[in-house]
Protein backbone atom coordinates (compact mmCIF):
# COMPACT_ATOMS: atom_id res chain seq x y z
CA UNK A 1 0.00 0.00 0.00
CA UNK A 2 2.69 2.41 1.01
CA UNK A 3 4.75 1.57 -1.96
CA UNK A 4 1.87 2.19 -4.22
CA UNK A 5 1.20 5.53 -2.57
CA UNK A 6 4.85 6.53 -2.87
CA UNK A 7 4.92 5.44 -6.46
CA UNK A 8 1.84 7.50 -7.28
CA UNK A 9 3.10 10.62 -5.50
CA UNK A 10 6.46 10.18 -7.13
CA UNK A 11 4.87 9.93 -10.54
CA UNK A 12 2.71 12.94 -9.87
CA UNK A 13 5.64 14.96 -8.63
CA UNK A 14 7.84 14.09 -11.56
CA UNK A 15 5.06 14.84 -14.05
CA UNK A 16 4.48 18.24 -12.47
CA UNK A 17 8.17 18.96 -12.53
CA UNK A 18 8.31 17.97 -16.21
CA UNK A 19 5.36 20.15 -17.11
CA UNK A 20 6.73 23.12 -15.23
CA UNK A 21 10.22 22.74 -16.62
CA UNK A 22 9.06 22.16 -20.15
CA UNK A 23 6.26 24.67 -20.08
CA UNK A 24 8.07 27.65 -18.67
CA UNK A 25 10.68 28.15 -21.39
CA UNK A 26 8.02 27.67 -24.05
CA UNK A 27 5.70 30.28 -22.62
CA UNK A 28 8.43 32.77 -22.09
CA UNK A 29 9.49 32.24 -25.65
CA UNK A 30 6.01 32.98 -26.92
CA UNK A 31 5.96 36.09 -24.81
CA UNK A 32 9.29 37.15 -26.23
CA UNK A 33 8.47 36.12 -29.73
CA UNK A 34 5.31 38.00 -30.29
CA UNK A 35 6.63 41.44 -29.51
CA UNK A 36 9.73 40.62 -31.50
CA UNK A 37 7.77 39.34 -34.50
CA UNK A 38 5.10 42.00 -34.45
CA UNK A 39 7.22 45.02 -35.31
CA UNK A 40 8.88 43.10 -38.11
CA UNK A 41 5.75 41.74 -39.70
CA UNK A 42 3.45 44.76 -39.97
CA UNK A 43 5.76 46.66 -42.27
CA UNK A 44 6.04 44.04 -45.00
CA UNK A 45 2.57 42.64 -44.46
CA UNK A 46 0.95 45.93 -45.30
CA UNK A 47 2.26 45.59 -48.82
CA UNK A 48 2.61 41.87 -48.77
CA UNK A 49 -0.68 40.02 -49.37
CA UNK A 50 -0.92 40.95 -53.02
CA UNK A 51 2.76 40.34 -53.55
CA UNK A 52 2.91 37.16 -51.58
CA UNK A 53 1.84 34.69 -54.31
CA UNK A 54 4.24 36.26 -56.78
CA UNK A 55 7.03 36.43 -54.26
CA UNK A 56 6.75 32.72 -53.62
CA UNK A 57 7.12 31.95 -57.31
CA UNK A 58 9.78 34.57 -57.73
CA UNK A 59 13.16 32.91 -58.06
CA UNK A 60 15.00 36.21 -57.44
CA UNK A 61 14.33 36.25 -53.72
CA UNK A 62 16.39 33.45 -52.30
CA UNK A 63 14.90 33.93 -48.89
CA UNK A 64 11.19 33.55 -49.71
CA UNK A 65 11.84 30.31 -51.54
CA UNK A 66 12.14 28.15 -48.45
CA UNK A 67 8.90 26.47 -49.37
CA UNK A 68 8.20 22.94 -48.34
CA UNK A 69 7.60 21.78 -51.89
CA UNK A 70 10.59 23.58 -53.42
CA UNK A 71 12.92 22.30 -50.78
CA UNK A 72 15.75 24.69 -51.49
CA UNK A 73 18.62 23.06 -49.65
CA UNK A 74 20.60 26.13 -48.62
CA UNK A 75 18.93 28.54 -46.25
CA UNK A 76 15.38 27.30 -45.57
CA UNK A 77 16.35 23.97 -44.09
CA UNK A 78 17.57 25.27 -40.77
CA UNK A 79 14.34 27.08 -40.08
CA UNK A 80 12.41 23.90 -40.65
CA UNK A 81 14.73 21.71 -38.65
CA UNK A 82 14.55 24.07 -35.72
CA UNK A 83 10.80 24.16 -36.07
CA UNK A 84 10.50 20.43 -35.88
CA UNK A 85 12.00 19.49 -32.51
CA UNK A 86 10.39 22.23 -30.50
CA UNK A 87 7.08 21.41 -32.14
CA UNK A 88 5.44 24.81 -31.88
CA UNK A 89 5.00 27.43 -34.49
CA UNK A 90 6.24 30.21 -32.24
CA UNK A 91 9.58 28.58 -31.70
CA UNK A 92 9.87 28.07 -35.42
CA UNK A 93 9.43 31.78 -35.81
CA UNK A 94 12.23 32.58 -33.43
CA UNK A 95 15.13 31.69 -35.73
CA UNK A 96 13.55 33.21 -38.82
CA UNK A 97 12.66 36.51 -37.24
CA UNK A 98 16.14 37.60 -36.37
CA UNK A 99 17.28 36.62 -39.84
CA UNK A 100 14.71 38.72 -41.59
CA UNK A 101 15.44 41.67 -39.38
CA UNK A 102 19.12 41.46 -40.02
CA UNK A 103 19.14 40.56 -43.70
CA UNK A 104 15.93 41.45 -45.55
CA UNK A 105 12.65 43.01 -44.42
CA UNK A 106 10.63 40.42 -46.43
CA UNK A 107 8.85 37.76 -44.42
CA UNK A 108 9.17 34.22 -45.69
CA UNK A 109 6.39 33.22 -48.01
CA UNK A 110 5.61 29.61 -48.50
CA UNK A 111 3.11 27.69 -50.57
CA UNK A 112 1.90 24.52 -48.96
CA UNK A 113 -0.25 22.12 -50.90
CA UNK A 114 -2.71 19.96 -49.04
CA UNK A 115 -3.44 16.37 -49.91
CA UNK A 116 -5.98 15.63 -52.63
CA UNK A 117 -9.20 14.41 -51.09
CA UNK A 118 -11.91 12.52 -52.91
CA UNK A 119 -15.53 12.89 -51.98
CA UNK A 120 -18.69 11.69 -53.65
CA UNK A 121 -18.80 14.83 -55.82
CA UNK A 122 -15.20 14.81 -56.98
CA UNK A 123 -11.60 15.65 -56.10
CA UNK A 124 -10.63 18.54 -53.85
CA UNK A 125 -7.16 19.96 -53.32
CA UNK A 126 -6.24 23.19 -51.57
CA UNK A 127 -3.02 25.18 -51.48
CA UNK A 128 -2.27 27.85 -48.91
CA UNK A 129 0.16 30.72 -49.13
CA UNK A 130 1.83 31.44 -45.82
CA UNK A 131 3.61 34.70 -45.21
CA UNK A 132 5.51 34.60 -41.96
CA UNK A 133 3.09 32.92 -39.63
CA UNK A 134 -0.03 34.12 -41.37
CA UNK A 135 -2.07 32.44 -44.06
CA UNK A 136 -2.48 35.11 -46.70
CA UNK A 137 -4.26 33.10 -49.35
CA UNK A 138 -6.05 29.81 -49.89
CA UNK A 139 -6.27 28.54 -53.44
CA UNK A 140 -8.39 25.62 -54.58
CA UNK A 141 -6.27 23.67 -57.02
CA UNK A 142 -9.09 21.26 -57.72
CA UNK A 143 -12.80 21.41 -56.99
CA UNK A 144 -15.63 19.15 -58.15
CA UNK A 145 -17.61 20.34 -61.14
CA UNK A 146 -20.83 19.12 -62.67
CA UNK A 147 -22.95 16.41 -61.15
CA UNK A 148 -25.09 16.94 -58.14
CA UNK A 149 -23.70 20.35 -57.24
CA UNK A 150 -25.19 21.76 -60.44
CA UNK A 151 -28.65 21.61 -59.03
CA UNK A 152 -27.99 23.87 -56.11
CA UNK A 153 -29.41 27.25 -56.84
CA UNK A 154 -26.28 29.16 -55.88
CA UNK A 155 -24.29 27.12 -58.32
CA UNK A 156 -26.96 27.52 -60.95
CA UNK A 157 -26.53 31.30 -60.72
CA UNK A 158 -22.73 31.04 -60.84
CA UNK A 159 -22.68 28.74 -63.82
CA UNK A 160 -25.54 30.38 -65.71
CA UNK A 161 -24.52 31.65 -69.14
CA UNK A 162 -27.52 33.86 -69.73
CA UNK A 163 -28.52 37.22 -68.42
CA UNK A 164 -30.20 37.18 -65.08
CA UNK A 165 -30.82 38.57 -61.69
CA UNK A 166 -33.04 41.52 -62.44
CA UNK A 167 -36.51 41.70 -61.03
CA UNK A 168 -39.22 41.09 -63.61
CA UNK A 169 -40.64 44.31 -65.01
CA UNK A 170 -43.61 45.31 -67.09
CA UNK A 171 -42.91 46.09 -70.68
CA UNK A 172 -45.68 47.26 -72.89
CA UNK A 173 -45.17 47.67 -76.57
CA UNK A 174 -46.89 47.30 -79.86
CA UNK A 175 -47.40 43.55 -80.10
CA UNK A 176 -48.77 41.11 -82.63
CA UNK A 177 -49.40 38.36 -80.11
CA UNK A 178 -48.65 37.23 -76.56
CA UNK A 179 -47.15 33.98 -75.35
CA UNK A 180 -48.34 32.85 -71.95
CA UNK A 181 -49.57 29.93 -69.92
CA UNK A 182 -52.76 28.42 -71.24
CA UNK A 183 -55.78 30.33 -70.16
CA UNK A 184 -58.76 28.32 -69.07
CA UNK A 185 -61.34 30.20 -71.04
CA UNK A 186 -63.63 27.19 -71.01
CA UNK A 187 -63.83 27.02 -67.25
CA UNK A 188 -64.36 30.76 -67.19
CA UNK A 189 -67.22 30.37 -69.62
CA UNK A 190 -68.68 27.43 -67.69
CA UNK A 191 -68.49 29.38 -64.47
CA UNK A 192 -70.05 32.40 -66.10
CA UNK A 193 -72.83 30.27 -67.55
CA UNK A 194 -73.42 28.71 -64.13
CA UNK A 195 -73.63 32.12 -62.55
CA UNK A 196 -76.09 33.32 -65.17
CA UNK A 197 -78.24 30.19 -64.79
CA UNK A 198 -78.35 30.68 -61.03
CA UNK A 199 -79.19 34.33 -61.40
CA UNK A 200 -82.15 33.81 -63.67
Amino acid sequence: MRRAFLAITGLAASTTALVVLKGSPGTTQVAQDLPAAQPVNPTPQGADPSVAPAAAGDPAGAAPKPSVSAGAPASPKPSRSTARPSGTRTTAKAPTTPRTTTKAPQPTTRRVTGPGVDNEYGYVQVQIVVSGNRIVEAISLSLPSGGESDIHSGDVRDRYNGTGGEVVQKQSANLNTVSGATETSNSYKQSLRGAIEQAF
Partner: protein, 256 residues
Protein backbone atom coordinates in the same frame (compact mmCIF):
# COMPACT_ATOMS: atom_id res chain seq x y z
CA UNK B 1 -62.10 49.14 -87.83
CA UNK B 2 -60.31 50.89 -90.70
CA UNK B 3 -57.04 49.20 -89.76
CA UNK B 4 -58.59 45.82 -90.40
CA UNK B 5 -59.73 47.03 -93.80
CA UNK B 6 -56.34 48.25 -94.95
CA UNK B 7 -54.09 45.51 -93.66
CA UNK B 8 -53.60 42.47 -95.87
CA UNK B 9 -54.55 39.01 -94.72
CA UNK B 10 -57.03 37.83 -92.15
CA UNK B 11 -57.31 37.35 -88.40
CA UNK B 12 -59.64 34.81 -86.78
CA UNK B 13 -60.13 33.58 -83.21
CA UNK B 14 -61.93 30.39 -82.16
CA UNK B 15 -62.42 28.62 -78.85
CA UNK B 16 -60.98 25.13 -79.18
CA UNK B 17 -59.08 22.84 -76.74
CA UNK B 18 -60.50 24.81 -73.86
CA UNK B 19 -58.66 27.90 -74.92
CA UNK B 20 -58.51 30.58 -77.57
CA UNK B 21 -56.80 29.78 -80.87
CA UNK B 22 -55.81 32.84 -82.87
CA UNK B 23 -54.77 32.71 -86.48
CA UNK B 24 -53.23 35.73 -88.13
CA UNK B 25 -52.61 35.37 -91.84
CA UNK B 26 -50.49 38.22 -93.17
CA UNK B 27 -50.22 37.21 -96.81
CA UNK B 28 -51.94 39.44 -99.30
CA UNK B 29 -54.04 36.67 -100.81
CA UNK B 30 -57.58 36.65 -102.18
CA UNK B 31 -60.17 36.74 -99.35
CA UNK B 32 -61.65 33.41 -100.46
CA UNK B 33 -58.21 31.77 -100.26
CA UNK B 34 -57.53 33.27 -96.84
CA UNK B 35 -60.88 32.01 -95.50
CA UNK B 36 -60.27 28.58 -96.92
CA UNK B 37 -56.84 28.44 -95.29
CA UNK B 38 -58.31 29.58 -91.97
CA UNK B 39 -61.08 26.98 -92.24
CA UNK B 40 -58.45 24.28 -92.76
CA UNK B 41 -56.47 25.41 -89.75
CA UNK B 42 -59.47 25.44 -87.40
CA UNK B 43 -60.82 22.15 -88.77
CA UNK B 44 -57.43 20.61 -87.95
CA UNK B 45 -57.38 22.09 -84.46
CA UNK B 46 -60.89 20.74 -83.73
CA UNK B 47 -59.80 17.34 -85.07
CA UNK B 48 -56.84 17.34 -82.67
CA UNK B 49 -59.11 18.36 -79.80
CA UNK B 50 -61.55 15.53 -80.57
CA UNK B 51 -58.71 13.03 -80.74
CA UNK B 52 -56.56 14.15 -77.82
CA UNK B 53 -58.84 15.83 -75.31
CA UNK B 54 -58.64 14.21 -71.89
CA UNK B 55 -61.92 15.95 -71.04
CA UNK B 56 -63.85 13.92 -73.61
CA UNK B 57 -64.42 10.30 -72.63
CA UNK B 58 -64.85 9.36 -76.30
CA UNK B 59 -61.54 10.87 -77.46
CA UNK B 60 -59.05 8.48 -78.97
CA UNK B 61 -56.50 9.26 -76.25
CA UNK B 62 -59.03 8.29 -73.53
CA UNK B 63 -60.14 5.16 -75.36
CA UNK B 64 -56.50 4.19 -75.84
CA UNK B 65 -55.79 4.86 -72.17
CA UNK B 66 -58.69 2.56 -71.18
CA UNK B 67 -57.35 -0.14 -73.47
CA UNK B 68 -60.24 0.09 -75.90
CA UNK B 69 -57.92 0.97 -78.76
CA UNK B 70 -54.75 -0.99 -79.40
CA UNK B 71 -51.57 0.74 -80.49
CA UNK B 72 -51.81 -1.12 -83.80
CA UNK B 73 -55.32 0.28 -84.31
CA UNK B 74 -54.42 3.82 -83.27
CA UNK B 75 -54.41 6.71 -85.74
CA UNK B 76 -51.13 7.87 -87.21
CA UNK B 77 -51.45 11.09 -85.19
CA UNK B 78 -51.85 9.26 -81.88
CA UNK B 79 -48.95 6.97 -82.65
CA UNK B 80 -46.81 9.99 -83.58
CA UNK B 81 -47.74 11.78 -80.34
CA UNK B 82 -47.00 8.68 -78.23
CA UNK B 83 -43.64 8.25 -79.92
CA UNK B 84 -42.76 11.94 -79.53
CA UNK B 85 -43.81 11.84 -75.87
CA UNK B 86 -41.51 8.89 -75.26
CA UNK B 87 -38.62 10.72 -76.96
CA UNK B 88 -39.30 13.86 -74.93
CA UNK B 89 -39.46 11.82 -71.72
CA UNK B 90 -35.89 10.73 -72.47
CA UNK B 91 -34.72 14.18 -73.60
CA UNK B 92 -36.01 15.83 -70.41
CA UNK B 93 -34.62 13.31 -67.89
CA UNK B 94 -38.17 12.09 -67.34
CA UNK B 95 -39.55 15.50 -66.44
CA UNK B 96 -41.83 15.63 -69.44
CA UNK B 97 -44.10 12.77 -68.51
CA UNK B 98 -47.32 12.18 -70.44
CA UNK B 99 -48.34 9.88 -67.55
CA UNK B 100 -47.43 12.31 -64.73
CA UNK B 101 -51.06 12.58 -63.66
CA UNK B 102 -51.44 8.82 -63.47
CA UNK B 103 -53.12 8.51 -66.83
CA UNK B 104 -52.20 9.35 -70.40
CA UNK B 105 -52.30 13.12 -70.85
CA UNK B 106 -49.93 14.38 -73.56
CA UNK B 107 -51.45 17.90 -73.58
CA UNK B 108 -48.04 19.41 -72.71
CA UNK B 109 -46.98 18.48 -76.22
CA UNK B 110 -50.19 18.26 -78.23
CA UNK B 111 -51.26 21.90 -78.25
CA UNK B 112 -47.89 23.16 -79.44
CA UNK B 113 -47.55 20.32 -81.90
CA UNK B 114 -51.02 21.00 -83.36
CA UNK B 115 -50.15 24.67 -83.91
CA UNK B 116 -46.81 23.66 -85.42
CA UNK B 117 -48.53 21.31 -87.89
CA UNK B 118 -51.02 24.06 -88.77
CA UNK B 119 -48.13 26.45 -89.45
CA UNK B 120 -46.27 23.86 -91.53
CA UNK B 121 -49.40 23.32 -93.62
CA UNK B 122 -49.90 27.05 -94.16
CA UNK B 123 -46.32 27.35 -95.35
CA UNK B 124 -46.82 24.44 -97.74
CA UNK B 125 -50.10 25.96 -98.96
CA UNK B 126 -48.40 29.21 -100.00
CA UNK B 127 -49.02 31.36 -96.91
CA UNK B 128 -45.51 31.86 -95.51
CA UNK B 129 -46.38 34.92 -93.41
CA UNK B 130 -48.53 33.97 -90.45
CA UNK B 131 -48.89 33.68 -86.69
CA UNK B 132 -50.66 30.81 -84.95
CA UNK B 133 -51.33 31.28 -81.23
CA UNK B 134 -52.79 28.24 -79.49
CA UNK B 135 -53.61 29.35 -75.97
CA UNK B 136 -50.30 31.12 -75.46
CA UNK B 137 -48.11 28.82 -77.55
CA UNK B 138 -47.01 30.81 -80.57
CA UNK B 139 -45.62 29.88 -83.99
CA UNK B 140 -44.69 32.78 -86.25
CA UNK B 141 -43.32 32.72 -89.76
CA UNK B 142 -42.41 35.47 -92.21
CA UNK B 143 -43.59 38.96 -91.43
CA UNK B 144 -46.55 40.56 -89.76
CA UNK B 145 -49.16 42.55 -91.72
CA UNK B 146 -47.08 45.70 -91.18
CA UNK B 147 -44.17 44.09 -93.03
CA UNK B 148 -42.03 43.97 -89.88
CA UNK B 149 -40.95 40.77 -88.10
CA UNK B 150 -43.60 39.44 -85.73
CA UNK B 151 -43.51 40.91 -82.25
CA UNK B 152 -44.34 38.48 -79.48
CA UNK B 153 -44.84 39.58 -75.91
CA UNK B 154 -44.22 37.24 -72.99
CA UNK B 155 -46.98 37.62 -70.47
CA UNK B 156 -46.12 39.17 -67.13
CA UNK B 157 -46.68 36.35 -64.63
CA UNK B 158 -48.44 38.57 -62.09
CA UNK B 159 -50.33 40.93 -64.36
CA UNK B 160 -52.52 39.38 -67.08
CA UNK B 161 -52.70 42.72 -68.89
CA UNK B 162 -48.93 43.25 -69.08
CA UNK B 163 -45.93 41.66 -70.76
CA UNK B 164 -42.42 41.46 -69.36
CA UNK B 165 -40.30 40.76 -72.44
CA UNK B 166 -40.80 41.30 -76.15
CA UNK B 167 -39.39 38.99 -78.80
CA UNK B 168 -39.20 39.59 -82.51
CA UNK B 169 -38.55 37.18 -85.33
CA UNK B 170 -39.52 35.73 -88.67
CA UNK B 171 -39.28 32.04 -87.76
CA UNK B 172 -39.93 31.37 -84.10
CA UNK B 173 -41.73 28.83 -81.95
CA UNK B 174 -42.43 30.38 -78.54
CA UNK B 175 -43.99 28.26 -75.81
CA UNK B 176 -44.70 29.41 -72.28
CA UNK B 177 -45.57 27.23 -69.32
CA UNK B 178 -46.60 28.88 -66.10
CA UNK B 179 -48.35 28.30 -62.84
CA UNK B 180 -50.28 31.58 -62.87
CA UNK B 181 -53.28 30.50 -64.95
CA UNK B 182 -54.19 27.02 -63.78
CA UNK B 183 -52.32 27.01 -60.48
CA UNK B 184 -49.60 24.46 -59.81
CA UNK B 185 -50.98 22.03 -62.39
CA UNK B 186 -47.57 20.83 -63.55
CA UNK B 187 -46.43 17.87 -61.49
CA UNK B 188 -42.87 16.91 -60.70
CA UNK B 189 -43.17 13.33 -61.96
CA UNK B 190 -40.44 12.12 -59.60
CA UNK B 191 -42.17 13.32 -56.47
CA UNK B 192 -45.75 13.27 -57.70
CA UNK B 193 -46.14 16.70 -56.16
CA UNK B 194 -46.66 20.11 -57.74
CA UNK B 195 -43.46 21.67 -59.00
CA UNK B 196 -42.21 24.84 -57.28
CA UNK B 197 -39.56 27.51 -57.66
CA UNK B 198 -40.43 28.81 -61.11
CA UNK B 199 -43.47 30.87 -61.99
CA UNK B 200 -43.07 30.99 -65.73
CA UNK B 201 -40.84 29.31 -68.32
CA UNK B 202 -40.67 30.36 -71.97
CA UNK B 203 -38.77 28.25 -74.50
CA UNK B 204 -37.96 29.53 -77.98
CA UNK B 205 -37.03 27.17 -80.79
CA UNK B 206 -38.32 26.14 -84.17
CA UNK B 207 -40.63 23.25 -83.24
CA UNK B 208 -43.53 24.39 -81.08
CA UNK B 209 -44.38 20.89 -79.81
CA UNK B 210 -40.82 20.40 -78.53
CA UNK B 211 -40.64 23.94 -77.13
CA UNK B 212 -43.96 23.36 -75.32
CA UNK B 213 -42.74 20.08 -73.81
CA UNK B 214 -39.39 21.63 -72.80
CA UNK B 215 -41.14 24.54 -71.09
CA UNK B 216 -43.39 22.12 -69.18
CA UNK B 217 -40.42 19.92 -68.22
CA UNK B 218 -38.34 22.88 -66.97
CA UNK B 219 -41.28 24.11 -64.90
CA UNK B 220 -41.54 20.63 -63.37
CA UNK B 221 -37.80 20.66 -62.54
CA UNK B 222 -38.12 23.84 -60.52
CA UNK B 223 -34.96 25.90 -59.97
CA UNK B 224 -32.82 23.08 -61.40
CA UNK B 225 -34.67 23.69 -64.67
CA UNK B 226 -32.69 26.93 -65.17
CA UNK B 227 -29.42 25.04 -65.50
CA UNK B 228 -31.07 22.44 -67.69
CA UNK B 229 -32.46 25.10 -70.06
CA UNK B 230 -29.05 26.80 -70.12
CA UNK B 231 -27.48 23.62 -71.53
CA UNK B 232 -30.17 23.00 -74.17
CA UNK B 233 -28.84 23.15 -77.70
CA UNK B 234 -30.76 25.11 -80.35
CA UNK B 235 -33.21 26.63 -77.86
CA UNK B 236 -33.28 29.87 -75.92
CA UNK B 237 -35.33 30.61 -72.84
CA UNK B 238 -36.69 33.14 -70.40
CA UNK B 239 -37.49 32.16 -66.83
CA UNK B 240 -39.26 34.03 -64.06
CA UNK B 241 -38.80 32.60 -60.58
CA UNK B 242 -41.34 32.53 -57.76
CA UNK B 243 -39.47 35.43 -56.13
CA UNK B 244 -39.95 37.51 -59.32
CA UNK B 245 -36.43 37.31 -60.72
CA UNK B 246 -36.03 37.09 -64.43
CA UNK B 247 -33.32 35.14 -66.25
CA UNK B 248 -32.94 34.63 -69.95
CA UNK B 249 -30.47 33.31 -72.54
CA UNK B 250 -28.17 35.96 -73.93
CA UNK B 251 -29.20 34.76 -77.40
CA UNK B 252 -32.93 35.28 -76.78
CA UNK B 253 -34.31 37.29 -79.76
CA UNK B 254 -35.33 40.28 -77.64
CA UNK B 255 -36.50 43.63 -78.90
CA UNK B 256 -37.81 46.74 -77.19
Amino acid sequence: MPAAMTRPGLCRVEQIMGTAITLDLADDLAPATLHELADQVFTWMREVDARFSTYRADSEVCRFDRGEVLLSEASADLRFVLEASADLWGATDGFFDAYATGRLDPCGFVKGWAAQVASDRLLAAGAPNHCVNAGGDVRVRGRSPSGEPWRIGIRHPWDPMATCLVLAGTDLAVATSGVYERGRHVLDPRRGAPAGGLRSVTVVGTDLGVADAYATAALAMGVAGIGWLDRLADHTHAVITDDAYQLHSSALPLTD
